[in-house]
Symmetry: C2
Subunit: 193 residues, 2 copies
Amino acid sequence: MPRPKEFNPDDAIEKAMHVFWHKGYEATSMEDLLTAMDLNRGSLYDTFGDKRQLFLKVIDRYCHGFVAEKFLLLDQPGPALPTLRRFIHEMIEGALADPQRRGCLIANTVMELSPHKKEIAGTLRQALKMAEDTFFKVLARAKQQGELKHDKDPRALARFLATMMQGTIVMIKAGASADVVKQTAETALSILN
Amino acid sequence: MPRPKEFNPDDAIEKAMHVFWHKGYEATSMEDLLTAMDLNRGSLYDTFGDKRQLFLKVIDRYCHGFVAEKFLLLDQPGPALPTLRRFIHEMIEGALADPQRRGCLIANTVMELSPHKKEIAGTLRQALKMAEDTFFKVLARAKQQGELKHDKDPRALARFLATMMQGTIVMIKAGASADVVKQTAETALSILN
DNA sequence: TACATATTGGAACGATCAGTCAATAACCTG
DNA sequence: CAGGTTATTGACTGATCGTTCCAATATGTA
């Protein structure tokens, strides 16, 4: 049996995630990653492969270990619409609370890389689809429970909410004030009435 | 009087714009720009300064000579809401028709650079504010002309539309289908009813 | 004709880029 | 303790980055 690693690969991935999240893919250098992850070139390349492979792992980690967990809140039983409203609200509060205003790593990557790198575009589409589907489930439940009028289309509303969420991220990154962002979200949510 | 330039600086800026629009700021090299603009290093640096200054000129050009012109459509007299709907529709058609799905240079730059580069963030915020204000004007006019119910808030709706527009751009860059994008826009516009 | 300036093409700058490699150190098993 | 295996380390690669500079050439005006 070999010598064990001196670092935790999961922790290292998470540290790399924050760098990519902050600076974007192109602007992040291996030097940045090495210092942030606090390991040496050899260890990084041996463990995670090159920059592209590391980034794919980071994206995967962000989607499954960071975003998915928050969307779990929407799967709880009980009143659906209040839960949905609370979720949106918390998402916005979280994005506003980040002093760096990094927004969403998925949206950032969509904007930076999606048109060029096909392999990663698939993963990103999948993540957005997951968000849409989760919205759909909670909206369908809301309709079933009589919280949503009969003429509302849960699928269309889910797509609308997903799109609105991305737009909100853009506005937050652009420096919009908290008040304006929240008011705009309320306007958007009024479509559920 | 000196020898005149052999190239049209405006055309050169526009060519540079398309490169930045396609690849983003960081991923665009001076080499890319030189070949696209079809001029030499000396000419480029003498005329436009360094990469950062050139990019600022590009952004300015995009905002004033590319976007502003399209928003002029909203200033026409007559029925306001149909004009607004047509504008949104055309914006989406244009973005979908671009085979490269480059989205919006302003949104791209907000996502890539806004949190880091303060000087450019101001220009971007200004551009987004212009969009919001133009939406506001047309919505205020709609309300005045009785096309919009009395309980609707033009300012809130304008911010909503601006945010929705950005979200739509993200979805288009993420590869959403034309049908879904248009349906989602219709859902968003139903808020005006 | 002569001066002034722009273009051209390329050489070269230091810095940084992503990635490689071999020597060294640390650990586990036997 | 010894032998084997792997992690760590830091120097090193070639390529590319943005930028500067220069000498040669071309073209306008005075």
